[in-house]
């Protein structure tokens, strides 16, 4: 059983080398198309003008920030329950990507906020939840960073990610509830600027592109994780010498 697990890491590491290159090029092309589509082809919003176009970055990033957390927790769960090493690596390596998506969502949200609300930051439910999500990611990353023994650290961060996933809906709904208490329904909804199909299509497309990007980066990061973990092992030396 043990041998098959190590072989699994080896299998993944040796087989994905070419895939990552292909995926990088692919996601770059897809991304360029999406940006062009969103910025130039999609029609102008009759209320918000051109400023709405930032949702083509903001909304997919916000979705992916949550999706990555789910990915981190689910892979962490598999790692803890079935003791699959590659899942341990996948779980912790997805944390910085998720944090990046969260930061993108926050920054684009702030940029969108200036023309819309007249200020970069309002304590609206979505932005606040996103900020808390960032803190959750930072917690996981900081916990991992402070352990010397990374093999133990991934087990603990996996556990934290799972607990965090249980908490995210609770946090999200309580923040939303808090927001309705204090602000009332005057704030314009962020996500649906009159969902015309010609505006929605690029959004869905960008969501797809972000997913491809995530896939590219996570495979690269898992390879990095495998390398860091197995750099002293025989097969890694043999592979790198070839």
């Amino acid at each position: 059983m043990n041998i098959s697990k190590i072989a699994n890491l080896k299998f993944f590491y040796t087989r994905t080398k070419n895939i990552t290159f292909f995926l990088s090029v692919f996601s770059f092309v897809l991304f360029s198309v999406g940006i062009f589509w969103g910025l130039f082809i999609a029609p102008e919003d009759y209320l918000q003008g051109n400023s709405y176009r930032i949702i083509y970055m903001h909304v997919p990033a916000a979705w992916l920030s949550l999706q990555t957390y789910i990915f981190m927790a689910v892979t962490g769960f598999i790692a803890l329950v079935w003791k699959v090493k590659i899942m341990e690596i996948a779980s912790i390596q997805s944390a910085p990507i998720g944090a990046l998506f969260t930061i993108i969502a926050l920054v684009t949200g702030m940029i969108w906020g200036k023309p819309t609300w007249g200020t970069y930051w309002v304590w609206d439910a979505r932005l606040t939840s996103e900020l808390i999500l960032l803190f959750l990611y930072i917690g996981v990353i900081a916990l991992y960073a402070s352990f010397k023994d990374k093999r133990q650290a991934v087990k603990i961060t996996s556990l934290l990610a799972i607990i965090g996933l249980i908490n995210i809906p609770i946090i999200h709904y309580s923040v939303e509830w808090w927001n309705t208490l204090h602000q009332g329904p005057t704030v314009t909804k962020f996500e649906k600027p009159s969902a015309h199909i010609s505006m929605l299509m690029p959004l869905l497309y960008m969501f797809f592109v972000f997913n491809i990007y995530f896939l590219t980066v996570i495979i690269k990061r898992i390879r990095l994780g495998i390398y860091l973990r197995e750099k002293n092992s025989k097969w890694m030396e043999e592979y790198r010498n070839d």
């Binding site: 930072i138 133990q152 603990i156 556990l159 309580s174 923040v175 808090w178």
Partner: protein, 220 residues
């Protein structure tokens, strides 16, 4: 067995009476700094005192739960917990309760005094009392989970609070809103029930979670 475990947890706190008084003193010290910083205007203080009480409570619980397992870790009793075939979950449960009794209960008991100092109306003081009574065991449990996560680290003073503070948010939101509601004459039962639900959910799970966490985190 139960009697011995409860006795032990209580006697350890009783032998270090500092552990009861210092959190309480810290609590009052922080609270009394606020008027000095914000000015003694009655209107302003009236509006923000519930928030101040809750933030101060968080600080106090964070500090007292942060080193919860430190002694047990240093003298090796954690290893006994993990290798014992007795139900260690029960031990953890009473440890949590004991920690709450000696760090949070004194604060809660002194809320009436606080309400005199800041001239809080009886209704609000009562709700503050109730929310603290239900909320602090949750905060303590989560804080102890944080200390279990970081037990193997030598420098974990700031890390645990960073990890667990986001988990405090729902408790804070509902507590603050209950206090807010009563001060403007609305009903606050729903928030109390939600807090109760959190408590009923978290308290039985926590001992199991602690045992599971410690198994990984003591090795570093």
């Amino acid at each position: 067995m139960l009697k011995i475990i409860i006795q032990k947890e209580l006697s350890i706190y009783f032998r270090n009476l500092n552990s009861i008084f210092l959190p309480l003193v810290l609590f009052f010290l922080i609270i009394s700094i606020f008027p000095l910083v914000l000015g003694p205007e009655k209107k302003l203080l009236e509006k923000i005192i519930p928030g101040i009480i809750w933030i101060t409570t968080i600080l106090t619980t964070l500090m007292s739960s942060n080193n919860f397992f430190k002694d047990d870790f240093n003298n090796g009793i954690i290893e006994i917990y993990l290798t014992s075939d007795a139900s260690v979950e029960l031990v953890f449960f009473f440890k949590i309760i004991a920690c709450w009794i000696f760090t949070c209960l004194p604060i809660i008991i002194f809320i009436p005094l606080l309400s005199i100092l800041f001239d809080i109306p009886f209704n609000s003081a009562f709700v503050i009392f109730i929310t603290l009574f239900i909320g602090t065991p949750i905060l303590i449990s989560i804080g102890i989970f944080g200390s279990a996560l970081t037990i193997g680290l030598s420098k974990n003073n700031i890390l645990a609070p960073i990890i667990i503070l986001p988990f405090y948010i729902p408790v804070l939101i509902f507590s603050a809103s209950a206090i807010d509601s009563v001060s403007i004459g609305l009903s606050y039962e729903m928030q109390i029930y939600i807090l109760l639900a959190f408590l009923v959910f978290i308290l039985p799970i926590m001992p199991y979670l602690l045992k599971y966490t410690l198994r990984f985190s003591i090795n570093n």
